[in-house]
């Protein structure tokens, strides 16, 4: 029985960690290139809305995903235009994107669907199907491997596996390719990159575009994979949790995976165990639900140690001083 509970909580963790993982990697790539992005939340929200509405209209979830990625990249490029080309403040640009997203999604949804700022419920092909991994049924009753493979890993939407795959891809891109080296250099010392004759602006735009793609996937998963439709403010702070996870992971992809799983696990535990007796004291529901946020503060304040962001992060590159 206890084993079953563990498997179910971990399975729920997989689902809840996926949007965080996409968003966390998105922020990581953008910030590694020296562009701070607190607009992750807003981009996810717009993508969630786009995915749900286009999937509803077309009846095909993947067209919705493409639209979500498209609109999210567009928002990213707006951020890029403001903060790279026009050298505006990156934080302010990010906040603006969050506000814009919160308002525009509800207004457009109301205009299109007249359901009070939500999209109609999705069904059938307009939702992401769950995928059973090969041999999942056959391995079901094998001890240890069975519960892990069949219970936890198998039976999620495709994007869950894409998110997991993005971790080694991000690592490989950042640390094993020439593009990644330049990307990191542009976040640490853009002047050196410029001296070497590589375009700082081009690299930073590439980074925010990748960030947009990943945020688009995060939002699409939220509205078409995790739930069946868009409602206002449905990201519910997940973009900010992803930022916290990114700092917790100190801008490293594999550590990011660990961090988002921790946050996902905390949320899953809070959903599952709402009243826990610890040493005869009954912890109320509110305490359990505040746990992820309390731990965020505790972890960031106490356990991370010194998290040093990329040195040129937050500042626009100016050629001549």
């Amino acid at each position: 029985m206890d084993m079953m509970v563990l498997v179910q909580v971990l399975e729920s963790t997989m689902r809840l960690a996926t949007p965080l993982l996409f968003a966390c990697l998105a922020g990581l790539i953008s910030e590694r290139a020296g562009v701070f992005d607190i607009g992750l939340e807003g981009k996810m929200l717009v993508a969630a809305f786009m995915a749900a509405s286009i999937a509803f209209v077309s009846g095909n979830v993947w067209i919705g995903v493409v639209a979500a990625v498209g609109v999210s990249v567009l928002m990213s490029l707006m951020h890029g235009l403001a903060s790279i080309t026009f050298r505006g403040n990156q934080l302010i640009s990010g906040v603006a994107i969050n506000f814009l997203a919160a308002g525009i999604t509800v207004v457009i949804a109301q205009n299109w669907f007249r359901q009070g700022g939500r999209t109609p419920s999705l069904s059938g092909n307009a939702r992401m199907a769950r995928i059973d991994l090969p041999f999942a049924e056959a391995l079901r009753d094998v001890p240890v491997i069975g519960p892990i493979y069949h219970g936890i890993l198998s039976g999620h939407a495709l994007l869950v596996y894409v998110a997991l795959l993005c971790v080694p891809l991000t690592w490989f891109m950042l640390f094993r390719t020439r593009f990644g080296l330049r990307l990191r250099a542009v976040g640490e010392n853009p002047a050196a990159v410029d001296t070497a004759g590589v375009s700082v602006v081009g690299l930073r735009y590439a980074a925010v575009a990748i960030c947009g793609v990943l945020c688009g996937l995060a939002g699409a998963y939220l509205s078409t994979g995790l739930s069946a439709g868009f409602v206002k403010d449905m990201t519910a702070g997940r973009g900010f949790i992803a930022l916290a996870a990114m700092i917790f992971a100190k801008w490293r992809p594999w550590h990011a995976l660990g961090a988002v799983f921790l946050f996902g696990l905390l949320e899953a535990v809070a959903n599952r165990f709402q009243n826990i007796d610890i040493l005869g004291v009954n912890l109320p529901v509110q305490a359990m639900q505040a746990l992820p946020y309390i731990l965020t503060v505790v972890i960031l304040a106490g356990f991370v140690g010194k998290a040093i962001p990329p040195r040129a992060g937050g500042a626009a590159y100016v050629k001549e001083h």
Binding site: M4, Q8, V9, S12, R15, L16, Q115, G116, G117, R118, S121, L222, L226, S227, A228, G229, V231, K232, D233, M234, A236, E267, A268, N271, R272, Q274, P284, V285, Q286, Q289, A290
Partner: protein, 329 residues
């Protein structure tokens, strides 16, 4: 006073008296929003029914943040609307502040009691309606476990949970009732992702009937129940049509009737506390073409018998709000 001033004064007096003469009723929705498919939408439907039947017109206002409560209630009263219907228990302090300033305006508060001479407080016996759907849940149940997803852990929602648990245990004393809440901020009424995840956790614990009393969050709960092939129970409005065959029934709270009555009674309506209980037809369970094949004749007989007993006073359902305790937990 110059002539133009006099003219302006006369015009504004005219405008004011014109506003008074029409005195359109007004409806102020709570944070869940007009189209939450539940509590606020029921109010909207009641107002629309009134509009269609009488040909009258009414003002409505939706707020975006809790800070707007007092401001918007004042705005409606200032504009000469009468009566002003205000939705939601969280607006009790709003009316305590606003209503004394407009003694000639009648206010109607849905879901809480404010003791002022120009306020009608409409409260519903949610525990009685929840008792009936709890019985239906236990009769449809096969696993020995049913569950409940609430929005916030507040006395109103706990009354739903407590009535539900009492009804379920009246049918099957050994039944296990899981009670979970979505959150402790207003976002808890609009987070279908978390609602669905909580419902999945309950279903994995063996629940095969999930009752949601959580506003927009409930849509995620109902969806998760359908995906898992188990029953769900809707709330406030009739939600049977959302997932036919999966929604076992809905706990009806006739908010639309309360709004309709208030609009019909018009300015100067009778104030005081209005009890919308089973006897008054204010709560109940939904039976329509979407769920009639799910509710067998025996189930219906048992529920109708309990309903008659509650109305006759032979069966009393404990209300959590009386003493903040529930005998069935």
């Amino acid at each position: 006073m110059t002539r133009s001033h006099k003219f302006a004064g006369a015009a504004s007096l005219l405008a004011l008296s014109a506003g008074m003469a029409h005195a359109d009723p007004a409806l102020m929705f709570d944070l869940g929003g007009k189209f939450d498919k539940s509590f606020n939408e029921a109010a909207y439907n009641g107002a629309e029914r009134w509009r269609e039947e009488t040909g009258g017109s009414y003002r409505e206002i939706e707020m975006q943040a809790a800070a707007q409560r007092v401001q918007f209630a004042r705005r409606l009263a200032e504009a000469g609307s009468n009566p002003v219907v205000v939705m939601g228990f969280q607006n009790a302090p709003t009316l305590e502040e606003v209503a004394p300033d407009y003694p000639d305006t009648s206010f109607v508060l849905i879901d809480a009691v404010v003791d002022l001479p120009n306020v009608r407080s409409v409260i519903f016996a949610e525990h009685e309606g929840s008792y009936l759907v709890g019985m239906l849940a236990a009769m449809a149940n096969e696993t020995g476990t049913v569950s409940f997803v609430g929005g916030m852990e507040i006395p109103l929602i706990a009354a739903f949970a407590c009535g539900y648990a009492q009804g379920a245990k009246a049918v099957n004393p050994d039944i296990n009732v899981i009670v979970n809440y979505t959150g402790d901020t207003p976002a808890a009424w609009n987070d279908p992702v978390r609602g669905g995840e909580i419902a999945r956790a309950q279903i994995s614990q063996g629940s095969d009937v999930v009752f949601a009393a959580a506003g927009g969050t409930g849509l995620g709960v109902l969806q998760a129940a359908e995906d898992a092939g188990v029953f769900s129970i809707g709330v406030d409005s009739n939600q049977n049509y959302l997932h036919p065959g999966s929604v076992l029934t809905s706990m009806l709270k006739l908010v639309d009737q309360a709004v309709y009555d208030a609009f019909t009674d018009g300015p100067g309506l009778e104030t005081g506390v209005v009890q919308m209980n089973l006897a008054a037809g204010g709560v109940g369970y939904a039976l329509d073409e979407h769920n009639e094949h799910l509710i067998s004749d025996e189930m219906q007989e048992a529920v109708e018998a309990a309903k008659a007993a509650i109305i006759a006073g032979e069966l009393s359902v404990h209300d959590y709000r009386e003493d903040s305790a529930c005998p069935a937990f």
